[in-house]
């Protein structure tokens, strides 16, 4: 397992290096003068010049790259142009909200989807299977923000069962926290749940047709045991893969969901950063979200070796 992690880490680092170069280059691609945009409409020539200096735009891209890497190594991602807060501090403050949403959405999706998918596969061709398959196909076409809007309208605006927005920290008020994250997490869970149902069903159908499963059934091992022990672990690999891919989509979908439910997460920060031309914040958020995704992939890869011993060593 360690070697898998090591190999993955070896590919993550160059990717992050490319990404950092990419986000630094983005600023050079801005149509017009980024310094003038940041300095604002009423800026004098001197203001613009100072902004240019502050953004480091007078340095060559190589100098900026090395400088950014050096700062990054010390945990310094620059300072927000809008709030003058260190970027790393702002991101750390926003991260728990987004991570909770992502985690809860994936957990809900997993808990709902895996049993449904397995059942649909076992009862393949039945009415239950067809209903589950059609509902999940339909659910995949519903973008998270649409579900979020419907949930907030029905359960927060029309009936005030849940708050329509705002975030309560878990440490302050666990009940308030649970209420504040329920609807957004549900909105984010539908998409991965639908995808997971399809993948689980497909994987289990595939495994159930294998010879060793047929043999186990023929030997008189109870179906329950065959499905759980023989089929379960082998079907897990594609399911975990999809879970990893879905994590990236949920993290992206969280941007819109955070706006709908006014949650102060990474997505809200990203939106503000874009609206206020806050380049260092944009760079930091792109980098941190990519690092999260890559880390997630690392965990997924490592889990393969648990589910499939052939991949060990």
């Amino acid at each position: 397992m360690l070697s898998v992690v090591g190999r993955r880490l070896a590919t993550i680092v160059p990717m992050l290096l490319i990404l950092i170069l990419g986000v630094l280059l983005l600023m050079d691609l801005t149509p017009g003068d980024p310094a003038a945009i940041v300095a604002g409409d009423n800026a004098t020539a001197q203001d613009i010049e100072e902004t240019r200096e502050r953004l480091g735009l007078n340095d060559s891209i190589l100098e900026r790259y090395v400088g950014y890497l050096g700062d990054l190594a010390r945990g310094d991602m620059g300072t927000s142009l809008y709030t003058n807060r260190p970027v790393s501090e702002a991101i750390l403050a926003a991260l728990p909200v987004t991570l909770w949403l992502t985690f809860l959405a994936l957990a809900v999706a997993l808990l709902v989807a895996v049993p449904l998918g397995v059942l649909a596969a076992v009862k393949r061709g039945s009415a239950f299977d067809r209903i589950v398959s059609s509902v999940s196909a339909g659910a995949m076409a519903a973008p998270p923000f649409a579900i979020g809007l419907l949930l907030v309208t029905v359960f927060a605006v029309n009936r005030s069962w849940f708050p329509a927005g705002g975030y309560v920290a878990l440490g302050e008020d666990p009940t308030g926290w649970a209420l504040s994250v329920t609807l957004p997490a549900l909105a984010l869970a539908v998409d991965p749940a639908a995808e997971l149902v399809r993948q689980t069903r497909g994987a289990v159908v595939d495994v159930l047709e294998r010879d060793y499963v047929q043999t186990a059934v023929a030997m008189g091992i109870p179906r329950r045991v065959v499905i759980a022990k023989y089929a379960g672990k082998n079907a897990a690999v594609p399911v975990v893969t999809v879970l990893g891919l879905q994590a990236a989509r949920v993290l992206g979908g969280a941007v819109v969901i955070e706006l709908i439910f006014t949650l102060p997460g990474l997505g809200s920060e990203a939106l503000n950063a874009v609206l206020y031309h806050d380049y260092p914040m944009i760079q930091g958020i792109v980098l941190v979200s990519a690092a999260l995704i890559l880390l997630m992939n690392l965990v997924v890869d490592a889990s393969y070796t648990y589910f499939d011993p052939k991949l060990r060593g």
Binding site: T30, L149, L251, G252, V255, A270
Partner: protein, 301 residues
């Protein structure tokens, strides 16, 4: 339909070359299934609506009638009016046109960026492939919407800019498919023969590698169309896509959400259109995928 007639040849230009020697595999299943056909019909209807819709509903989608705001559906306004008294049906149709154009812009950008680079990477191999592949991986490691946001942040808000951003974000998908197809056949005898008789690399890429990738690329394109509709709606909902007073369905949803506490209805028509359009594209995508891949392993899960 009984399985007696494997004689029915499938001579579709795309599927034909994909599965040699599987003629007897699944008789009588040559066409698309029912769901993909329904999807195709829906999309065709949508395109038609976008083209001639303003002949059906002659109301100006941007005309405000401030005395008749937030009305429920009636004979005058079949789908009611929005917070400015604009006709929801007229905006829905105008939105269909803009949404479709925007979707094509984004997928076009992704195709133009992704496919040539992918073919070149797959054909050239070596360092070119490694560098381009790493860049594609890096782009794909950032969540779609966050990267699109960042690029819109650089280019500035606006529907075209937003769609260019989405196109850049989707380009690696096409890159990967094109690269895979190209690198899969680069050592085939017919490619080497072509090189030997002096074909230019451009000819090899366009005449031999691109057609080889056409099936998977078609599947990718169809799925991407649906995903781009989501991305467009999301960005317009965030206010970074379409700008007032123009309408896309995402933009209409944003406007309707602003007055949701008074009336939730205006949100429903655009949301329903978004949902149905994505569903249609995904049904067509499934249909094409089944048609092109079925038979190779002889079964369909």
């Amino acid at each position: 339909m009984s399985g007696t007639a494997p004689t029915r040849k499938k001579t579709g230009p795309i599927g034909a070359g994909m599965r040699p020697g599987t003629k007897g595999g699944r008789p009588g299943k040559g066409g698309l299934g029912l769901a993909p056909k329904v999807g195709l019909v829906f999309i065709a209807g949508l395109v038609l609506l976008a083209l001639v819709g303003d002949l059906l509903v002659r109301t100006d989608p941007n005309a405000q009638d401030l005395l008749r705001r937030m009305e429920s559906p009636s004979g005058d306004h079949w789908l009611g009016t929005d917070a400015y008294g604009r006709d929801t049906l007229a905006r829905l149709i105008a939105g269909a046109r803009l949404t479709l154009v925007a979707t094509l812009q984004a997928v076009g950008t992704a195709v133009v960026l992704g496919i040539p680079l992918g073919l070149v990477a797959g054909y050239a191999g070596g360092i070119v492939d490694a560098v381009l592949g790493r860049i594609a991986d890096s782009v794909m490691s950032v969540p779609t919407l966050i990267l699109a946001l960042a690029i819109v942040g650089i280019l500035g808000p606006g529907l075209t800019n937003a769609m260019i951003a989405v196109g850049i974000v989707f380009a690696p998908r096409f890159f990967r498919v094109a690269r895979g197809a190209a690198s899969g056949i680069r050592n085939e005898p017919y490619i080497e023969a072509c090189q030997a008789i002096g074909c230019s690399p451009a000819r090899i890429l366009l005449r031999h590698m691109l057609p080889n990738a056409s099936g998977p690329l078609l599947i990718q394109t169809t799925y991407s169309l649906g995903l781009v509709v989501i991305a467009e709606a999301s960005l317009s909902f965030l206010g970074l896509g379409v700008q007032a007073p123009d309408a896309t369905w995402g933009g209409m949803t944003r406007e309707a959400f602003g007055s949701v506490s008074r009336n939730g209805f205006p949100m429903l028509p655009p949301l329903l259109m978004i949902f149905l359009t994505i569903l249609a594209f995904s049904m067509v995508g499934d249909g094409i995928r089944d048609r092109l891949t079925r038979g190779r392993d002889g079964k369909r899960i």
